[in-house]
Point group: C2
Chain length 510, copies 2
Amino acid sequence: MAKTSMASSFAAVLLDESSSVALYRQLYDRLREAILIGQLPPGTHLPSTREMATELKVSRHTVFNAFELLQAEGYVEGQIGSGTFVARTLPEELLQARAGSQNISLVNPEARPVSQRGKIITRTQIIERTGLPIPFMQGVPALDEFPIATWSRLVAKHWRQSPQELLNYGRADGYAPLREAIAAYLGPSRGVQCNSDQIIVVSGAQQAIDLAARILIDDGDPLLVEEFCYGAARAALLSAGARLVPVPVDEAGLNISVVADSTSARLAYVTPSHQYPLGVTMSTSRRQALLDWANRARAWILEDDYDSEYRYTERPLPALQGMDRNGRVIYIGTFSKVLFPALRLGFIVTPRDLVDAFVTARATLGWCSPTLDQAVLADFITQGHFIRHIRRMRTIYAERQAVLIDALEHEAGDLLEIKPADAGIHVTCSLSNRIDDRAVSREAAELGVVAQPLSAFRVDESVAVRSGLILGYGAYNIRQIKEAARKLGTALKDVSRVARTSANRRRASQ
Amino acid sequence: MAKTSMASSFAAVLLDESSSVALYRQLYDRLREAILIGQLPPGTHLPSTREMATELKVSRHTVFNAFELLQAEGYVEGQIGSGTFVARTLPEELLQARAGSQNISLVNPEARPVSQRGKIITRTQIIERTGLPIPFMQGVPALDEFPIATWSRLVAKHWRQSPQELLNYGRADGYAPLREAIAAYLGPSRGVQCNSDQIIVVSGAQQAIDLAARILIDDGDPLLVEEFCYGAARAALLSAGARLVPVPVDEAGLNISVVADSTSARLAYVTPSHQYPLGVTMSTSRRQALLDWANRARAWILEDDYDSEYRYTERPLPALQGMDRNGRVIYIGTFSKVLFPALRLGFIVTPRDLVDAFVTARATLGWCSPTLDQAVLADFITQGHFIRHIRRMRTIYAERQAVLIDALEHEAGDLLEIKPADAGIHVTCSLSNRIDDRAVSREAAELGVVAQPLSAFRVDESVAVRSGLILGYGAYNIRQIKEAARKLGTALKDVSRVARTSANRRRASQ
């Protein structure tokens, strides 16, 4: 914990001069309570008696008496007057008192209802990915390859120059130079047809999904999703009140024809460039079929293009948005995978007639993203650093993917099937359904390796289990990948052996 | 507009080798379209033919032919090969074509439905406050007094040191050292009882209100608000599906007893420290009555403590949260008014049993706030700059408020009643109901002064009109305040004269 100084204002400590309780005793009570509930953590440096007396407009004597009592009982230590600290080692009784005080405030949750929507939100599961990434944790780019020196230089430049108006509230749709830079990048690079008026800067894909769902559907509305789906997107869609309808996905991506005639859905959430988590790319004919459905059904398509800056095939497919001639596609992009996740910047490209709704919703949800961060990113793009970074990373990631696939085929080639991914920073390997992917995941975790089971990404219980593992490789160097692949191979062999043994036992006992 | 360079990847331009249309013609079509819809704005520097040929994996001749055709028709200009730019002055025909193409994509909005919720969101009105603030625009602090050198130094330090894990996704509840710093500040300064586990960092009060409403109420649920209410808060509550029930506010603040026995509301949104916009402070007995109601009704209180760091009275009142013994209050704070709005950081203090719901909802809405910004703020607080800034600003704001009140009484003392505000960075002055505050506001706008009419803050039509003006003074120096007060005085006198004249006419004609 950072050393906390209490050279802050104690002005709001409520002392009642008309009370029959002495002022020093009131102050003692208030400080003791703050220590007990952990608000003044152990080691906190309290203000001097003089400072506190001035703040509270009481005599210094009052403060001294309160401190003395606290010291006598072991709540504070040090020299009263200038160097008083909250006790670092609280006596045994204090620890008990603290536990007790926490229990008191933990009221039975059943008696403290949240809303129906609140219950749905609380039930959703979000996997946090903080700290240094562990192989093969997904969705994290190569943090050590980010050109931090270039970025820092731009940050410093902007803070040096920053005109006052950049400190004020920004525009809800985002900082204009950033929106222009994004529009100019998107057309040639991703085949997205838009100009900067249609771009709304948000805090990432997650916020974009939430915004779109809130604007386009009501509670209980059906919403089409790929039958295997990104967990956090699923959580956002459920939290916005959607009823998720899984649509089959095969090698050519989502197959709208299976549900097109039977659904009343008005929104479909898809990842056509690089299906998450299966990794397939939606074919041109499937894309056309999806657009045709949206046009007939007057439905919207939410295209999440989360990591397709990195494509490894000869001629990349443009975004679905670029094929759309009827303004049915809402396109989502994020800088979390291309730059770094802690930046919290992404964007939405909206059809023209939804711009107002999205801008109002963005303002309602929190006005805008931090302006200085947006200004730095705008420079990073227009000065060409962005494209240079993508080009450099494409080579690095292609190598990392190849190393991962080689290593896994070497370690456990007979137990898994793994196809090179056309794009992105993860691969999906298929296992025989005889091997329980959750068991492999647990076993790998024991060895310090993250291997998310494919079956965990099913939208609901109606979707057939496919055993597999989703492995992120973006954030790890060659040595880390090889080492983790070896451990994962061990986990796979262990689980497979157990599965075989118990199958043999079943056969033997029959 | 920043000069846009197209040294970016054109890799996604879709060229079909099997098509009967020549490749150069396909490329021409794609670029022409991008120019027409404004995706490649006038002046954009196109890549060299060599670069583009490499990107697209076509011959340089193909690119040259496409460029030549574009140049012949006036879409691009300059030297083909290296210095080709999108034409700065588009020929007359092009402008017409552009207008036409925009019309095509503007489909009848009636045929393009958003959800019921989307309609509510789109209907809400959000007043943007971007650029340099104009007197007496509210909610903006003194941007020119912010210690930008100190802040920049901390920013530079963090970028220099920033360990890789700070680039990854952060914790959904916020950066731990910041949460500890906030908890350590809140207790002594605002009388809030909490420890850092209860604190969730968000992007400002606006996001906090949205989160709370989504977790605690369902669509159509009644929600108590002060009868005059902050417009953006109102928009967020409406967008979350609330049915707003106005509760009377008098000199002692919101009076819960008027509705306590008749409402089934489970949430009340209040600004007890400094009612927005009326400016009154809720009395201790009214606070106790509100807490008693919440406890009886098992309701929640959302306390928005948006600007009470600046108090000008002798002994400040602690936050309502500090009086709450039953964990019924959700406390919201923001750094927009104390530091600067573009920072986009605020926080929620939740009762212990709502922590999980709020953290999950925060993750679902966009994971977390930018980590580096949080790290800088944590240092700013723990190193004492925060408290120093507040102390310094308190003096400056007290002076600005006094100057504003003096100036207004001097200019139009007979037409308005203005009481010193105990806290914050705005004052509310009352007008006779005979003077239409919206007319004054329009007249002031003509003179370049912002004066929001109090009647615009009524929650709904059922609330009795009170004529008045809400004037922000935080962001303006003495000279600006005096000058704007003079203009506002003129506007007031003009409107009052017209009102008197027409009243006289009515009397004369009777």
